[in-house]
Structure formats: C-alpha cells, structure tokens
Subunit: 304 residues, 2 copies
Amino acid sequence: MKFEVTILGSSSATPIHNRNPSAQALNINEKLYLIDCGEGTQQQMLKFDVKASRIEHIFISHLHGDHYLGLVGLLSSLHLNGRKKPINLYCPELLKEIIDIQLKSSETELQYEVAYRFTDSGKAEVILENQDIIVETIPLDHGMRCTGFLFSEKKRLRKLIKEKIDEYNIPVEYYTALKKGADYVASDGRVFKNETLTTDSATPKSYVYCSDTLYNEQYFDQISNATLLYHEATFLNNMLDRANETHHTTALQAGQIALKTHAKRLLIGHFSARYKTLNELLDEARSVFPDTELAVEGKTFSIE
Amino acid sequence: MKFEVTILGSSSATPIHNRNPSAQALNINEKLYLIDCGEGTQQQMLKFDVKASRIEHIFISHLHGDHYLGLVGLLSSLHLNGRKKPINLYCPELLKEIIDIQLKSSETELQYEVAYRFTDSGKAEVILENQDIIVETIPLDHGMRCTGFLFSEKKRLRKLIKEKIDEYNIPVEYYTALKKGADYVASDGRVFKNETLTTDSATPKSYVYCSDTLYNEQYFDQISNATLLYHEATFLNNMLDRANETHHTTALQAGQIALKTHAKRLLIGHFSARYKTLNELLDEARSVFPDTELAVEGKTFSIE
C-alpha cells in the first residue's frame, strides 16, 4: 500500500521567498489527505502536481494563519472546477465560521458538501477510520487550541503458512477465521494452534504530524514508534528562550523527541524566516538523531 | 514625481501555475499603494522586491476571494514584522468582519491601527486625497458590490515665466498667488493678466483600475482620458456569452473601452486559467487599441 507524504510548505508565520507556510499532502493507498493549508497551498499543489480534486480529507491543526489561510481559496477553486464529492474537514470549530462568512461574502454556495468534524485539543481522539488507516488527534502545547495528527495503517490480517494449510488439509472456509487469529479444530477434535498455521502481518506503519508545539512530554507516549515523525523545529537551540516564549520547538529538541519516542525517521520543518539556509537546523537535529531530513517544498518521503 | 504600477498577479479565480490572483502595487512619489490582494500577494512582493512595510494604503475592489484572500496573511505578517504605522484600508464593509474574526481566532491583536474607509459601490466617491493624488471609487457592474479605483495626480500649480517675472520686476511675495492663477496688480495700478506671467502645469496623470466588470458604459465618462487604463480582459471575445454570464469583459471589449474613453495606454489582466498563453488576448485587444500591454507578474509600467 502506498503511504507517502509530499511537503508543500516548510515555513513558519513570517513569509520568506521560496518557502511556503505549512501544508503536506499524504498519499495513502492512492487517496489524498491534506494536512494544514497555509496561504498559497493551491499554487504549491499545481507546482508539484498534487491533484487537488483527489483530496478527500483535510486536517487543520490550529488557527494561526500560516496553517489555514489557503483553505478558503482551495475550497472555492474546487467549487469552480466542478467538484461534487464531499470534503471531510477536521478542524477547530471556529474555522467553520471563518469559512462561512467568506463564502457568504463572495456569494458562493459550494456545489459539494463540507463535512466537518471538530477537533478537541483537550484529548486524543480517533477522528477518522477507514479501510486503510486510523487517524487520531494529538493534543499539543502551543498556547492555543492545537492538535497534531497520527496516521496509523490498520493492522492487517495474519498470513496463512501455505505448507501447513496444505499439510493439514484445512478447508478454505476456515481461512478467514485463521487470518483473524482463531485456532483450527479438525473434525476429529484435534486442535491446531493459530500460531502454527499463520504468521503475524507486518507492523502497521505510522506518520506523525506535530506542528506547532512546545517540547512537552505529554504527547510522547502517543507518538512513540512512529515510522516517520514530522516535528516542527522552528528555531536553533541557541534560541530556546524564544522557542519557549512562542510555544515552539528547537531542532535539537526535535531530535531528542525522535530519540525518546523511538521514531524510525525524523522530518523537521516549520522553519523561522530568520534562517536563510537550513543546514544548521539539520545538523543540530542530526547531532542527536542521525536519521533526520528537512521537510522542504516538493520533496516526497515514503513512510516505510 | 514617480508614478508607476508593478503587477503582482494577473489571474482570475481559478488558479493556474505561474500566475497569481489580482494584486498591484502603485508607487506614487515613493509611497506604496496596494490594489487588491489575492492569495499569495505577500510572496509576490518578496519575489519582486516590493517592500510590504512601505504600504500605506490598501484598496480592495470586491469580496471575491481572488481579490482579497491574501490580505489577512499580509496584515499578520506586518504585525509580526513590528509595524507600528497605521494602514488605511478601503474596502466593502463586510471585509472588516472577515478580518476581525480571523485575527480573533488566531489570538492576534495588531500592534498597528487598521483605519477603514468603507466603499459604496452605488456611487463614485473621493476616498482619499493627499498632497500627491486623489483617489475615487468607480462603480463597476460585476453582479455584486464592486468598485474600481481612479488615481489622479493632483493638478500642480502654474509655472512662472521667468523672463516676464524679471521684466516686470515682480516681488517674490506674489509668486504663490501667481502660481495659483491670480493676476498681478503693480503699485502704479497696472494689471498684468496671469496668463501673460505663467504657463499651465502639465495635465495630471491618472491610473484607472477596472476589475471586475461587465462592459457597461456607466463608468466610461469617469475613466476617460486615463494616462494608463488597467482593464480586466478575462476571456477572448469568442466567449462573450460566458463573459456576460459571469460579469466579465473580453479582450476585444477592453480594447474598445480604451478607444472610447480615449485612454493613452491600456493594460489588460485578470486572465482566465483556460489561456495557457496570453498572445491571443493581447492580439485581440490590440486589434482595436494598439497601445496595449499584458499586465503580467513582475512587470512595472510607468504612468506617463
């Protein structure tokens, strides 16, 4: 199953040429999920050939402009381009009011439904489950209502060991039960333990999106063992005071979080405009967690 | 006096790669005036080195997203960059509500004042007058509240004819009155007519911004004799029905308007995303009004 993320924006609130504010497109089994939608996200999609029409779910972490100001434009464009399929929007409740007043003021009545699911930054919740994934909110510590998102592949069924199935001549109608973990009881009463007939499926993969937040251990348990952890790293650690003051994380802290939560790989982003180049941020995170990459515009990372 | 316009966006509502929605920066005597502010305008300013911090006045024609969705991001960035000087915002009244709810939801209290002047699309009004210019609204026909803007240089004082001033030995304290058009009465009672002592100053230049609108003669008188006329030209004339239906203008009509209103030069913009290249639009406008240019991103046009 395809499971990858394309970065559409890597900057924090103050604009900088050649970087865009937060937005990421997840492709999970050829379905598109958009995480955050800063100003200009539509243009970034055009640039990197991410088909907006294929988006089914949009997740907005919080209501700082650099995480959602591109949304009304995107919704309007989908309407202008004839969309009829609903969009599922997971966001703080106030965003509905912001969208509604702007649609009203432009005399736009969308031809498709926006199905809202409001997030609650007070607790982790499953907000979406389909045949491919489960999505949970991650309560973050940003001095305002803010949630990250945890995308976990669903646990697959166990795999039959073909030779054993043949050897014991197990009828096909038992296969599903075996895949789900049941033992096999033969007609003569003999019991075959499930683990002798099947093997476990691969460990489900997960993508964790943590932006924006102060370093705070409250969410570490929930994000542990991420296949790919995206964590904001707005500042270098020599600006730790500024990071604390603005409820952000440093690159060093992002590395430490990846290490403590046993992430397999780390992506850092949400860079302050003061950093014209990003090497120092990358080096700092790698000093504690070597398997780190920069979440820069146009790059696609496979979650595996 | 410098009087020039830099194009920041040339597209209409549906997004297209490498074009941005409407925004233009006017430099009048080294003061910056922003006209419309589509999504991504901040990025365009960075790209074309238009200093956002120098903007004093912002004019929003109407509340279709492609004309204002970049504004909240711009206002927020000015705040983050420490602006203290007020911004003057000329716009439909509903925009204040749209801005307020977004500032509130991001818990932002701007450090500078936004001084609103609400436009009324029902009548032409002077909305700004300073030492350099007079700005009037132009009621347009867009099926919703929409105004264009007419920027006219202020009429300069008359110029003294130095040889006559010397010949008649006119005292310096009379110069200002002469420049304002008064006759000179000498101490012996002789009257010297003003037109023998001064010449008229240059005709004031004007920049006209007409977007978005149906071809409608109602605004032709007001925009006549523009030094530079910017007029939307969303479609080719073979899509006249579509233009009428959506309250837009064709390139041919834009040329006809320039001709009828005796514009000196014409700029066309607000191009539909269906036109991947713009030559046909340019050729069509030029077929009736040869002195036409494309208002494309990054180009600066002198108003002279």
